[in-house]
């Protein structure tokens, strides 16, 4: 705790009046402890009910593919894979798009007014509630995926990735909507990194005769790379934790499939769907899955924050 002792005469003045403990400081300390305690409390309330499942299944929980409530056998592998794969596909789609938008916003291709409209729209995408994305996915994206997925499975069905039948509630649908949902995260953090690139680097590149895009690819993006990587990792964390929209769109199937056009499941969707009517070992297994999800997203977010901190330091030295 901080000591607020002055020096010399001020100290003696305080010494004469009776010194009381700083009650306000105690109050702020209690508030800070409460924040930390709340997290511990949440973790404790996940681990305690999960304990029977942890003891019974151990790490085999993450390698077993069967989630069968009737036989009381639970394996989270399909959901673990579903969470990872849906987030990775979303990133695959959103990363190039997000970086291009970040470049568009930080370069002067079009007047500032136009760029600010685009920036506003991308930020609005972050403000739309998850459940509205889910509704939009059901009404707009699912019919599209059914139609184009039908063509895909007709012509490319020999590839395991596009083998039919094309269902609307599928990995592809969920990934497409997730991509739009994480786009604002990627764009905002990448844009900050690109804007932070010192103008002297750009001027130097132009001075030796590089075109604008040679400058972008060989100077701006390499310099801003740590920030773009951090944006990607944080977006990955967001996509993994996303619950409502994915639960509405992915089909929540406990089966593993190579095809992007067939239903899959995620850890978050599993919890949202089964928690209400679960009891006994099933409840415990769900808590185990929740713990896995928390640890996973925590790990990814910590990695992202760490890279972001390093990214801020990386460009700080260049003038």
């Amino acid at each position: 705790m901080a000591s607020d002792e002055g020096t010399g005469s001020a100290d003696q003045k305080i010494g004469k009046t009776k010194r009381r403990p700083d009650l306000f400081m105690v109050l702020t300390w209690v508030a800070s402890v409460a924040a930390v305690a709340t997290l511990l409390w949440i973790l404790e309330s996940i681990v305690t009910p999960a304990w029977p499942a942890i003891q019974q299944m151990g790490l085999g929980f993450f390698t077993s593919t069967a989630w069968d409530a009737n036989r009381d056998h639970y394996g989270a592998l399909p959901f673990l894979i579903g969470t990872t794969v849906s987030s990775l596909i979303a990133l695959l789609l959103a990363l190039p798009l997000g970086v291009f938008i970040a470049l568009f916003l930080s370069e002067n291709f079009l007047p500032l007014g136009v760029r600010q409209v685009i920036r506003f729209v991308v930020e609005l995408l972050a403000a739309i509630p998850s459940v509205v994305y889910g509704l939009w996915g059901i009404a707009v994206v699912i019919p599209l995926v059914q139609q184009f997925g039908g063509y895909l499975s007709d012509y490319l069905g020999f590839l395991p990735l596009f083998s039919g039948p094309a269902t609307g509630n599928s990995m592809l649908t969920a990934s497409l909507v997730l991509a739009i949902m994480v786009l604002p995260t990627i764009t905002a953090i990448s844009r900050t990194a690109l804007v932070a690139v010192p103008p002297t680097l750009r001027e130097g590149s132009y001075a030796v005769g590089a075109t604008r895009w040679e400058t972008i690819f060989r100077v701006l993006i390499p310099t801003a790379a740590p920030g773009i990587v951090a944006a990607t990792i944080l977006a990955f964390g967001r996509a993994m934790g996303e619950t409502m929209a994915v639960a509405m769109l992915i089909g929540n199937s406990p089966r593993l499939s190579w095809s992007l056009l067939s239903p899959a499941g995620t850890l978050a969707g599993l919890l949202a769907n089964q928690f209400g009517e679960a009891h006994g070992l099933q409840l415990s297994a769900l808590m185990y899955a929740a713990l896995a999800l928390v640890v996973l997203t925590l790990f990814v977010n910590m990695a992202g924050e760490a890279v972001l901190r390093r990214a801020e330091k990386a460009t700080a030295g260049i003038r």
């Binding site: 702020t28 924040a35 930390v36 997290l39 509704l135 939009w136 786009l183 075109t211 895009w213």
Partner: protein, 129 residues
Amino acid sequence: MTTATSSIGFTARSLKAVDGNSRVRILRNNFWTFLCVTLSFLTLIPLFSIVFLLLQKGIPLLKPSVFTQLPPAPGLTGGGFGNAIQGTAVMVGLALLFSTPLGILSAIYLNEYSPKSRLANAVRFVQSF
């Protein structure tokens, strides 16, 4: 940032005046510019699509009673979702009531009293969580 090029790309007239290698570089430059601007405008589509969907389905049913009345019994029409509006407002209000004082007090501790203590680091960690 001042550049020798126009803001979108090089003009056709300047293309004739340069040698082959430079022409390829300029064309490549313009291709990326085109791709970048096009993709940026494509992001407008999802948002417009969402707004359009909500308006298309919502406007015909929009009347003041929707926000004040309770949901109708099964099989009946009319009514509204006033209960949900009130519930959202009360829930958000209560959440703010609990979290605002705690958050501000904790922020004061972090910034004013001991920014570098172990507790302060723990609180920052919890925040990022």
